[in-house]
């Protein structure tokens, strides 16, 4: 898919929608409306939008504990997502999953996941399903740099390669694994360098630049869709917030974070790109932000006004309810 103004605008808009969604969720946490925890994606938005702009609705996406951005970029509704974070009955998962399990199966967004590295096998499995059925759906797996250490990475990618499955493995390397800098616990810097062990292409991109992500992923998706097998793409990125809410971030300096916000905010980088091409006026920009802001305000209102799940919900969805069978 070639890069158009429209596509850029969509990516730009979605980055704002993600950013504002999370900032609102954070605010709602302080108000006590969102409980549990949030793994903020802010700063990494270019990866989600750059990847998902290459996908069709019927392509599969699986995420991580840090998946608000993946969900929104794949098309999930912010109001239902916010309601999920509140634990309300109107949430994407009817309040049963929360932030770490947001999913929208109608969009083949098969869910965030609370277990690091646990999505890599299942995404390879959705790709296997497409291969068996002979469809041209592509599967995309997001995972962190920490997840690349897990055995699931090793086992699943090898099978993706063995059967030449239509899957793109997207590692979001944000340089940290919870409270530990990657360099303290990893022996290779770039996760893309591990691709050789699986005989698949490995590419590292600047994950702050939506355009760069978009173009590299475009190639990987095209390869996957046409039967050329998997790719491993590392997007080097940075998270602006702590690992999860309440993180004191003793492992990095405020200066480091401020510097990244100043020089590597993916929203600014895409804005500059579009402005240079006259693809975005300042009025357009205002409108994008205004609309995204309104949407998120509505989402919070929707979540707040939504009912709690009923007590009986505790016992449903454990198994398929036989009564529902035709």
């Amino acid at each position: 898919m070639s890069l158009t103004q429209e596509k850029c605008l969509k990516m730009y808009t979605d980055m704002w929608r993600i950013r504002l969604f999370e900032e609102e969720a954070n605010r709602q946490t302080n108000l006590g409306n969102v409980v549990g925890t949030l793994h903020m994606y802010c700063g990494e938005e270019a990866v989600a939008v750059g990847v998902c702009a290459n996908l069709r609705d019927d392509d599969y996406v699986l995420g991580t504990h840090r998946s608000h951005g993946h969900c929104i970029a794949k098309g999930a509704q912010s109001d239902k997502m916010m309601a999920e974070l509140f634990g309300k009955a109107t949430g994407t998962c009817r309040g049963k999953g929360g932030s770490m399990h947001v999913a929208d199966f109608s969009l083949n967004m098969l869910g965030a996941n609370g277990i690091v590295g646990a999505g890599i096998g299942p995404t390879t499995g959705t790709a296997l399903a497409s291969k068996i059925r002979g469809t041209d759906q592509v599967s995309v797996c997001f995972f962190g740099d920490g997840a690349a250490a897990r055995g699931t990475f090793h086992e699943a990618i090898a099978m993706g390669s063995l059967w030449q499955l239509p899957v793109v493995y997207v590692c979001e390397n944000n340089g940290y694994q919870q409270w530990v800098p990657r360099k303290n616990v990893a022996v290779v810097d770039s996760v893309a360098d591990m691709a050789g062990s699986y005989s698949i292409p490995g590419v590292s991109v600047n994950g702050q630049d939506a355009i760069e992500v978009y173009e590299v992923i475009a190639e990987a998706v095209a390869r996957a869709r046409s039967g050329g097998g998997p790719s491993l793409i590392e997007a080097r990125t940075y998270r602006f917030y702590g690992h999860s809410l309440g993180d004191e971030q003793q492992y990095r300096t405020e200066e480091e974070v401020e510097e990244r916000k100043r020089n590597a905010d993916p929203i600014n980088i895409l804005r500059d790109f579009m402005t240079e091409r006259n693809w975005l006026t300042s009025a357009d920009d205002d409108q994008v932000q205004q609309r995204a802001g309104d949407e998120i305000t509505r989402a919070a209102k929707f979540a707040e006004e939504s009912p709690w799940p009923e007590m009986g919900e505790v016992g449903t969805d454990v198994l398929f309810d036989a009564k529902e069978v035709a």
Partner: protein, 323 residues
């Protein structure tokens, strides 16, 4: 009805289901080359090309792929060569397959069958002889199925493959060669429905897997002692048919619960606890459990014979509840 071995009955069920539904496929180690060590997947590669995947040695990967394929609407039937190796894929079974429907508020369905050859077979010691039914019973979202005869094997495997939720399907290695009559064609056994394998008046023996056969042998011996025992085979441990079990207990007032696995925190413990809670006023005697001692499986044949419970253990347990 045709007489066939347990593994043949399973193979028949698998072939029938693969013919019926294109979304059923097979995945596992060595499943093509010899149809797996127990030949349950034999012939699949020839009859259903493209629907069987012989994998690297990577159980977490195998089950992980299965979960994804299932969420995408396929019906994977996975063979874990020996149950013991499922320890390498517990996150995939427990945190992914079992919880996916719940965590997504009902959006996900994981219609995956994990076949688990278990228990002693050839003497292969501690890492190749485990059972662990109670682990999976304890996980909400999983169904735990333990057929004891070729007919049950066929009927339960077909139901398992059609189930919209994950099934842990226990196949006791020692029973693969056991023969029995098996209904031809469409034959489905519902989950959560125990089977009274023998009717009797004096003692309820609840027997799991191979202990059904051993209890039947014990029943013959016990007849001579004048005891008429009833044998209830739960067939599925989760869901557990508490109704049929309690009905039998109400009749006899005496209970022996038999499994081949270690009883300590084992599948028999749940059944005993349930009865102590639900049928207390019907009980005339302690609830006695029969199972292995709480030890790893040794290698030496001389030791193994003191570990695996046999008909004699059932006999002495019955004597205990009758005394």
């Amino acid at each position: 009805m045709t007489v066939m071995a347990f593994n043949e009955a399973l193979r028949e069920a698998l072939h029938e289901e693969m013919a019926r539904d294109e979304s059923v496929f097979v995945m596992g180690e060595d499943v093509i080359t010899h149809g797996g060590p127990y030949k349950v997947t034999d012939g699949v590669a020839e009859k259903f090309p493209g629907r069987i995947f012989e994998t690297p040695i990577a159980e977490a990967g195998i089950v992980g792929l299965g979960v994804g394929a299932a969420m995408a609407g396929m019906n994977p039937v996975i063979e874990i060569m020996y149950l013991d190796f499922i320890t390498c894929a517990m996150d995939e079974v427990v945190n992914q397959a079992a919880k996916m429907r719940y965590m997504t508020g009902g959006q996900a369905s994981v219609p995956m069958v994990v076949r688990l050859p278990c228990g002693v077979g050839r003497l292969l010691a501690a890492q190749h002889s485990q059972i662990m039914e109670s682990w999976f019973m304890h996980v909400p979202g999983l169904q735990v199925v333990v057929p004891s005869t070729p007919a049950d094997g066929k009927g339960l495997l077909k139901t398992a493959i059609r189930s919209p939720d994950p099934v842990m399907f226990f196949e006791y290695k020692r029973t693969y060669t056991h023969k029995g009559e098996v209904p031809e064609g469409e034959y489905l056994i519902p989950f959560g429905k125990a089977d009274v394998k023998r009717e009797g008046e004096d003692v309820t023996v609840i027997a799991i897997g191979p202990m059904v056969q051993k209890s039947l042998e014990a029943a013959v011996l016990l007849e001579d002692e004048g005891y008429d025992i009833e044998i209830v085979d739960p067939r599925t441990l989760s869901p557990l048919d508490t109704e049929t079990i309690c009905e039998s207990v109400r009749k006899t007032g005496r209970v022996v619960v038999c499994g081949e696995d270690s009883s300590f925190a084992g599948s028999v413990s749940e059944i005993a606890a349930m009865i102590a809670e639900s049928c207390f006023s019907d009980l005339k005697a302690p609830i006695v459990r029969v199972g292995s001692p709480h030890v790893p499986m040794p290698f030496s044949a001389e030791l193994v014979k003191h570990v695996v419970p046999e008909a004699a253990n059932v006999v002495s347990a019955v004597n205990r509840v009758m005394s």
